[in-house]
Amino acid sequence: MFVKEGIIASPGIVIAKALVYEKILVEVNKHKIEDTEAEMVKFQNAIQKSHEQLEAIRIKAINELGEEEGAIFEAHAMVLDDPEFVEGVEAEINNNHLSADYAVKNVTDRFYEIFDQMDDPYFSARAADIKDVGTRVLQNILGIVQADLSKLDEDVIIIADDLTPSDTAQMDKKRVMGFATNIGSRTSHTAIMARSLEIPAVLGLGDITGTVKTGDLMVVDGLTGKVCVNPTNEQLESYQNEKMKYQNYLKELEALKDLDAVTLDGRKVELVGNIGEPNDVAGVLKNGGVGVGLYRTEFLYMNSDVMPSEEKQFAAYRSVLEAFPNGPVIIRTLDIGGDKKLPYLPMDDEQNPFLGLRAIRLCFKEIGLFKIQLRAILRASVYGHAHIMFPMISSITEVRQAKAILLDCMKELDQEQRPYDKAVKVGVMIEIPSAAIAADIISKEVDFFSIGTNDLCQYTLAVDRMNQEVSYLYDPFNPAILRLIKQVTATSEKKDNFFTGMCGEMAGDPLAAVLLLGLGLYEFSMSALSIPQIKKIIRSVRYEDAKNIADAALNMDSGEEIMDFVQESMKKLNLNI
């Protein structure tokens, strides 16, 4: 028996037999050949065979994992056809009289190194593709048949150095119960694949392939990041218990998916997701989010080499809106500047970027850019319940200025006879203390507020939370922050057809849920994975109790005292986090 600790890549607990999947990597030695023609035939046959294999894998991947996964193998096939690759190998064979296997290894390594050294995740991914393809061609030249994972007789945990898209695509998904690997991180292919297959994975274990044998009984605990090989009976029993508990917990959360977020005494709130791109919608839907409380549009701009066109933005907004026929989608206009820059928009370095030209302020300076986005949102607004949200608002003057530009865009669209939702909702982020204090004034011009706690905390407490010397001061439970939140919700409660939400990290914090509910928050927007847990808490509490807890907290001395009090109160109400 032994236990090893690695990186948690995908949650859950699995108990099954190990299958050590070792790549057969033969030593390829340099040797000169005379019969270049024979080597060329070997190479061409291997390319042909690799094409056939990739096509089969591509079809399997599309059927089992979707188009996106299938596209990886299209990219692999492109490497097989690439003139620099093919001609590079041919030159090594014909001119340097190298054997086909050594020539392929040489050329693959050369490209791998170039791409791997580039300081850019896009190119690192290409490096992995090239290595994967090179290995395939090499194995085909040498007639090596890789262990077949496509037909397994029993449930197994795959033990490997690392897994490539070629490995995972051909796997018998019904039998593969977990992964444990020597290397890898939360963002490596193995991790992404484990999460999409919803199986536990612990990576970065060092030498797990050398210490586990095929057939060993083992546990992969993706909750604590441990693997236990050949567990004792007691350990086995304890893991079985933990596994059961986790499954029950998941079932409980799953059962809540289609239920309303409503308290025991009938106060209904809205749980929605924060997203960065249209792909994130799937996670929100899966976790029972009824809409989007924060669509961070800056990713559209940051993931592009050029300014995204109106058409491109329109298509992205439309696809998100169409995913929620009944729920709100709050689209935040470009929040760039400060620490976030765009390659195609030159910006001067600033003394105080967080107090400088960012978000709405930058949009006022770059009105052309701002109008493209507003036009795209307006045009998409007919496909759902679009809400436009302006970031970094400090006073009503800025709201009026932004709305005037929005009105210009509406007039343009009228002239062009393009449809848009004339009653589109307009709101602002409350993240600057002045906006929270003057919420009643600002509310005259808008339909909703969304409190951005991350920045509100930084600005109110004058603390940079990335600065380790002072980050201890960053505390969303600080009474000053809670009082500001209360001031904002109190304003919105007095108005009809008006709501206040929150899209900062605090909204997804289980410890803050009761407090925020009691402070009168209506909409909670968070990362999709947090939604089920927050819903469980909301459905287990009475609004009256939450209000009492919040009222008491507002009169306490410190964030620490408030946090202790909330924890204590939740325990009394039998609310387990």
Binding site: M78, D82, F115, D305
Partner: protein, 87 residues
């Protein structure tokens, strides 16, 4: 053979999207097409070659083509670069 010098103007150079646009355009012509950067010759129809070439903003390259449609090929590729890939 036709050849022309051109300086890459777009912000990201021949990065992911511009590189694939460049290679796709080159692929439409029958001629053999090469990009010469600092004396190194890169096959313009190879996405791996072009991306690995590290052609960034401000780099001056020479586009060479040889074949039936050599003039059109060089013109099309140079224009693509001068248009900053439609940015």
């Amino acid at each position: 053979m036709v050849k022309k010098e051109v300086t890459v103007l777009n912000a990201t150079g021949l990065h992911a999207r511009p590189a694939s646009m460049f290679v796709q355009t080159a692929g439409k012509f029958k001629s053999k097409i090469f990009v010469i950067k600092e004396g190194n010759s890169i096959n313009a129809k190879s996405i791996m070659g072009i991306m690995a070439g590290g052609i960034s903003q401000g780099t001056t390259i020479e586009v060479q083509a040889e074949g039936d449609d050599e003039a059109e090929a060089v013109d099309a590729l140079v224009q693509l670069i001068n248009d900053k890939f439609g940015e």
